[in-house]
């Protein structure tokens, strides 16, 4: 309620401290808060540095027009959607955002020419408007797991089902690094109920749609919808090494531990029926169903304990009967995969021109900032503890933040603000290694080019 000066900002907007008792959507997110956020907190320079990939004009091998060929899209307050926006510099980007305070900012591909000049080029011949580079991206949304989570559904997410996202990050991240050899991977909270992944290696950015599709399919295990019962079908006599490592290192432990604790997937008839349907043998289904119906009311164990007992019984039964049919061979694994394996949105990954929300945007429905997630520490990430717009504003008002976002020489670790931690993480574990490697690449390809035309330099 106190009207405090935000004098150090030199900004005239003063703002009432938000009241937390009300839960109207406007309290989480409104144009007023957005102005403050984009006026003071959004890390323009970091985003610009990232998307320039080393082309900062400081080396003769730099492409000064690279950043300007990147498509951005803005979604404004009245759902007005503006595509093919492009900017020549960080300040142009900043200026554009500050002139309309978009509700959502998406990042698209780097095109052959400036997106906002695309009409000047015909669609045939050699000068076409076409994407030339784009990060390899993944989108995992917890609503795609609604058939296997019992605590929430739809847009909600809680501490009992969020671990599904954690396990997804671990599986995908490990594979991206170990199998595909990618090094510059950024994971970002989508703001409400999922995660995005940006693979930024040069090799990744230059992948064709067909290659992106191949990687997405490599990751795909769950194939189904309400029209078919057995949605994970693992054929063959063993798992592919990628699936085997995922199972042994992450999925099995998660299924038998945290998942059982949080979801107790065998504790009631409704729940265990769903699992029994995944077993393609009617006799085994009835055998287990009978056993569990009998023991339903007689047990004094907790839900979780009952669940674990039943899981053991199911495993033992399947182990002894798996030779009955090829579809039973890996039924146990299929069940584990159905409940725990990542479900990525294939369409997002397959096409270069697909737009994806920018990191450090704010989600309109929750007011939370889309902050990076540390894949090596993702167990610690709590989606319900992510800074919200109102918390950030409150922090500014109380003068608690010593942060100046645009300060590049932030050598001392005095920035302890809510957002500062995320920005620091973004810089140190993602941006700096990425830029170092980009600059080396620019240097090397420049040297190669020079080397080729060495003769022209001889006097």
């Amino acid at each position: 309620m106190a009207r405090e000066e935000t004098g150090s900002r030199g900004d005239d907007t003063m703002i009432d401290a938000p009241q937390f008792t009300n839960s109207k959507p406007e309290e989480f997110f409104n144009v007023h808060y957005l102005r403050i956020y984009y006026g003071n907190l959004f890390p323009y320079n970091d985003i610009h540095k990232w998307l320039s990939y080393g082309h900062d004009g400081k080396h003769p091998g730099c492409d000064d027009y690279y950043f300007g060929r990147r498509e951005f899209s803005f979604t404004l307050e009245n759902d007005v959607y503006l595509r093919y926006k492009s900017f020549k510099s960080a300040s142009a980007l900043e200026h554009a955002i500050k002139s309309c305070f978009p509700y959502k900012i998406d990042i698209g591909a780097v095109y052959s020419v400036d997106p906002d000049k695309r009409h000047a080029y015909s669609q045939t011949g050699t000068n076409v408007f076409t994407p030339v580079e784009r990060e390899l991206v993944f989108d995992i949304d917890i609503t795609d797991y609604d058939d296997v989570r019992y605590c929430c559904s739809g847009a909600d997410v809680c501490s009992k089902c969020w671990p599904l996202m954690t396990v997804a990050i671990k599986v995908i991240h490990t594979s991206l690094k170990e199998d595909f050899g990618f090094k510059h991977i950024l994971w970002v909270f989508s703001g409400r109920r999922g995660v995005h992944c940006w693979v930024c290696d040069p090799k990744a950015r230059r992948m064709t749609n067909e290659q992106r599709s191949a990687v997405a399919e490599y990751f795909r295990v769950y194939k189904g919808n309400e029209n078919n019962a057995r949605k994970v079908a693992l054929m063959g006599y063993s798992l592919h090494p990628f699936l085997a490592i995922s199972y042994v290192d992450f999925l099995k432990g998660f299924f038998e531990g945290e998942l059982q604790e949080n979801q107790s997937i065998f504790s009631t008839k409704d729940k265990y029926d769903k699992i029994l349907e995944l077993i393609s043998d009617e006799d085994i289904q009835s055998e287990l169903r009978e056993k569990w119906e009998k023991s339903a009311n007689r047990s004094s164990l907790s839900e979780e304990a009952i669940s674990l007992v039943r899981w053991e019984q199911l495993k033992n039964t399947l182990q002894s009967k798996k030779h009955k049919a090829p579809t039973l061979r890996m039924c146990v694994e299929e069940i584990v995969f159905t409940f725990t394996y990542p479900r990525i949105d294939l369409e997002v990954s397959k096409q270069m021109n697909h737009l994806l929300k920018a990191p450090f945007c704010v989600h309109p429905k929750t007011g939370r900032v889309c902050v990076p997630i540390d894949p090596n520490n993702c167990d610690e990430f709590d989606p319900l503890a992510v800074p919200t717009l109102s918390q950030l504003i409150e922090e500014i008002n109380s003068g608690g933040s010593k942060m100046d976002v645009d300060d590049d020489d932030d050598d001392d670790d005095t920035d302890t603000s809510l957002l500062g931690k995320s920005i620091k993480f973004f810089r140190s574990s993602f941006l700096e290694p990425l830029l170092k490697s980009c600059k080396e690449e620019i240097e090397n390809s420049y040297k190669t080019k020079i080397g080729k035309s060495k003769d022209s330099f001889s006097w």
Partner: protein, 454 residues
């Protein structure tokens, strides 16, 4: 390649060193008689059409190998090997002219020629295959010694995951950047480590097919340029009419413009859905009515089908709006869905008038969580399919025939049998497009109803 009139053909003397399957890298300096120009192309087109049919019917790779072998022998064989090779090369280059002229034609030609190449390659012995790989000049190194030893266990796991009970690893593996073998990556048929895929000798197909496809794709663009800038005009009295006739005769109608049998209005839509829609569209339609929503894949498949069936843009907007607003409200409908409906009708964006999906495309789609599109004969579980067929009025005997086709993965034949059971008549052409099902159905129903009294 020179096209000449009825003169004795000069024999080509560079066939001796050519591999069994030409790579069509450059147009050879041959002379071709004008009659052969068209005849050779027609024969090859018969082969490509047969390939297209086989793919649409969901034939597995071994079946496709046999099919290609049969088709090739039937249409392209000649007792003289060098004549056969010439026909192969000439017909390919003629068809390039025919199929370079639009995106849709290019896409079809590229898919069919690639499939043809793939299966012809698979039919060759290992030595011949290695020779072809060599022709492409691919720089892949074989993995040997200690490196191979270190990978043996995991390579064995891959082999077992593909259905071979014993983990015997092949003698030769190639280390290839994963980008070069997208189909092997997508189906998890290779071990991948630090960006490299380990491709078995027997999997070479994938490598060469990718190269082949890429080469033909680029070639088609160049051919198109040459066609539009010089050839079309120069040959307007000779080759151009032949080229233009060749493409329209074999692709079949695309149902982008509705015919006299296909014009429906909003009032009739429920009744017509029950009486004339194929199962895939019935299902989608029922789901829209039930859930007042459909995900993107379903909206595209059903929306374009309705367009092909004659539903006008205004009626389409009214239909989707009536259902969706029950769930998302009028404002959201206008903002999020109306645009893409208009887009489908060619009224927004690129203004392409999109064509309704044919069975082949629908069968190959991949419905995921919450989706209802795709081909029920392929994507439904047996129980769900039986229930759906029961609702269409099939007797249990009729159903067995259909389920038999489904078990053998002949999805379009299953749909054809359903059609025949529902309307009590035979459908010799076979169903290969949902709009075709609709039109045939309407033809039958209209011929049964007496004309309205004046």
């Amino acid at each position: 390649m020179e096209v000449i009139r009825s003169q004795k053909r000069t024999p080509s003397n560079d066939t001796v060193s050519n591999p069994k399957i030409p790579l069509y890298l450059t147009a050879p300096p041959m002379e071709v008689r004008l009659e052969e120009f068209e005849l050779f192309a027609v024969d090859r087109l018969r082969v490509l059409k047969g390939v297209s049919d086989g793919l649409a019917r969901g034939r597995n790779p071994k079946e496709m190998d046999d099919l290609v072998d049969t088709l090739w022998k039937e249409h392209m064989r000649d007792p003289d090997a060098s004549v056969m090779l010439n026909k192969d090369i000439i017909s390919h280059f003629v068809l390039r002219l025919v199929y370079c002229r639009s995106d849709e034609l290019k896409k079809w030609f590229l898919s069919m020629e690639t499939a043809l190449f793939r299966h012809r390659f698979r039919l060759q012995n290992f030595e011949a295959q290695r020779a072809i790989v060599g022709e492409f000049g691919l720089p892949y190194k074989a993995v040997t010694g200690a490196e191979l030893e270190g990978l043996k266990e995991r390579l064995g796991q891959v082999v077992r995951s593909l259905g071979q009970i014993s983990p015997t690893v092949e003698a030769v593996y190639y280390k290839v950047p994963f980008e070069e073998v997208p189909d092997l990556v997508a189906s998890r048929r290779v071990l991948i480590q630090k960006g490299y895929a380990f491709v078995a000798g027997s999997q070479l197909v994938s490598l060469v097919v990718t190269q082949f496809r890429s080469h033909i794709s680029k070639a088609l663009i160049l051919t198109n340029r040459k066609w539009t800038t010089t050839i079309q005009e120069r040959e307007k009295d000779r080759l151009t009419p032949i080229v233009e006739a060749l493409s329209t005769s074999y692709l079949g109608p695309d149902y982008s413009q509705s015919t006299e049998y296909a014009e429906i209005s909003l009032m009739d839509i429920d009744q017509v859905a029950k009486s004339s829609f194929p199962l895939c569209m019935r299902h989608l339609f029922e789901k829209v009515r039930e859930d007042h929503h459909l995900k993107h894949g379903g909206r595209m498949q059903l929306g374009l089908f309705l367009k092909g069936v004659g539903l006008k843009l205004d009626d389409a907007l009214a239909f989707w709006r009536a259902e969706f607003t029950k769930k998302v409200g009028s404002e959201r409908f206008d903002k999020e869905y109306a645009y893409s409906i208009r887009h489908n009708y060619g009224k927004e964006g690129k203004r392409t008038d999109y064509t309704p999906y044919a069975c082949q495309k629908i069968i190959l789609s991949a419905p995921g969580a919450g989706d209802h599109h795709g081909c029920p004969y392929r994507h439904f579980s047996e129980d769900n399919l039986r229930a759906a067929l029961g609702r269409m009025g099939l007797s249990s005997r009729g159903m067995e025939g259909v389920m038999d086709q489904v078990r053998n993965k002949h999805y379009q034949l299953a749909c054809t049998m359903t059609f025949e059971a529902v309307y009590g008549t035979s459908c010799d052409a076979g169903i290969n497009h949902p709009n075709q099902y609709f039109e045939e159905s309407q033809k039958i129903l209209k011929s049964k109803t007496p004309p309205a009294p004046v």
